[in-house]
Symmetry: C2
Subunit: 344 residues, 2 copies
Amino acid sequence: MEVGPVQDKIQLSHGAGGTVMNDLIKSVIIAGIGRRRVAGGAGLDEFDDGATIPVDGREIVVSSDAHIVDPIFFPGGDIGKLSVCGAINDLAMMGAEPVALTDTIVVEEGFLVDDLKKIVASMNAAIESVGMALVHGDLKVMPKGKLDRIVISTAGIGFLRGRKPILDSGLRAGDKIIVTGPVGDHGIAIASVREGISFRTSLISDVAPLWGLMEAAMGAGEVTAAKDPTRGGVAMALNEMAEMSGVSIWLREEEIPVRDEVMGACEMLGMDPLELTCEGRAVLGVRGGAKSILNAIKGTPEGKGARIIGEVKAEREGYVIMETSVGGKRVVGPPLGEPTPRIC
Amino acid sequence: MEVGPVQDKIQLSHGAGGTVMNDLIKSVIIAGIGRRRVAGGAGLDEFDDGATIPVDGREIVVSSDAHIVDPIFFPGGDIGKLSVCGAINDLAMMGAEPVALTDTIVVEEGFLVDDLKKIVASMNAAIESVGMALVHGDLKVMPKGKLDRIVISTAGIGFLRGRKPILDSGLRAGDKIIVTGPVGDHGIAIASVREGISFRTSLISDVAPLWGLMEAAMGAGEVTAAKDPTRGGVAMALNEMAEMSGVSIWLREEEIPVRDEVMGACEMLGMDPLELTCEGRAVLGVRGGAKSILNAIKGTPEGKGARIIGEVKAEREGYVIMETSVGGKRVVGPPLGEPTPRIC
């Protein structure tokens, strides 16, 4: 993985969701675009899961994602499920009910129509699970050899459940941090079936829609910040929250749920579970009654493995600090990026 | 170009914007997705430039496009300008002021960061021209050789200027049809610089944002239907309008503006100018005072070459009929698709 300032050519690390990517986005996109928010809304500068647009005194939420996962069919899901859950989860992390979806499908000449039907069926199942609608789309075909099979982009439109969006900047000292289930399943499930690094595992991706879980959490108490730890994993999500909120986050290593299989694979491959992509997990900041919010989350199918993993302090602004199982402390820095390319 | 029912593998024609593409979309996407509209709004079934979502008694408009144009820098524009104008024009054709944009950029490892900066600068110029904002985005990187340089998808969000969206189904007998400038410039400009079919021309793409033009037209009278004739060209746009509205459209060949260079290239390459992609033109149905709407359009930079090219009748429902220069009549059928792959 490339390290340091933005190179003159795009590297894989520029798409890996970590600091290398954020540096490129800041220096090329943010620096190049003048209008980055609709007046009164949250926009590009927030680096949040979505943006908000004021409409007649309320705010609607929009999010966007491109999906290039390889393989396109993987244990626990496929690129269709991933692309719809990506939109649902971005909206949910902003505290918005998913209402509508647009998609663009770019496909390689020669792609099997039956595979496209399977992908559309997966998209439909995820759409149905939250009652949103696919209202618009586009389809383009690239000549054979010009694209590796298929890329799907989605944009989600949601309506805020509360009065204000849940932003990464919402953490305050005293808030508790919840993770909604074991981390890294998606990252290892994809790595396990990738050419060159195949190994045996019964692990499946965690990819899942999280609106029901968020609805339960918001119904049980105050959610002050929320993020789905996709590329860059829990480490990146928490670092962005700490930075945007101007606080520190203190984790207890022994509370962070990681499956044995994920831990074993990480040891074998030299990966950190906290830097692996999840596609069906959320990290939440919650205020007051953390236990009742935790219990509400544990009552949802996607939240059975939820845990309180840490808390927020005012000191050491911007840092994420782990209290290790052996009693030490270490800084969990923002990763350069997820180590597996085309993870989502 | 493949003809007939949907094949078992994706063909280039499946992305060409004509009847072959629409057949695939109907049999795979429409048939596979259960929820295709938000209650009270216009959705996927309309095959329109955008969809609408009711929000507290008003409707917002959303549109989506993927852009795979080759070459990515072409006479008159680049993939950045194209991707933003695509969103602006889709919203404008629905009668909506462009307010916000999301984008996803998928780029090949090794792509020059300087080229990405140029593309972002083009995007920004188009965004600034209508005062919208780029509020959210995503960036992904494909390994070298897995994608031919860059694909950009955009979603646009707009606010209706009038009370109701302008839909393709809005034509009624007696409406006049306006085209806002010479047709086919984009199609021939791209074809002229494509490997294998290069020829000399000073032609540049018509790619341009059309919100100012639509604003002028709507301010001068009643616009009953509007479409930007992208893939499949004017022929496809008018056939879709005629079908959705349950009317016929009668064109006068001598009134349709086509540049000599486009006509010459079409004769050389065996193409029909009516089937070529435009990226800065609109075909409009207008009711009452067509001349004053025409004059308002001609007063905008993008509408100087506008003409009234035909009218709407109730008979022969669904047909587009051309009264030729030599006094005959011919049916202008829906094309299979734009003949140049990766045109937009």
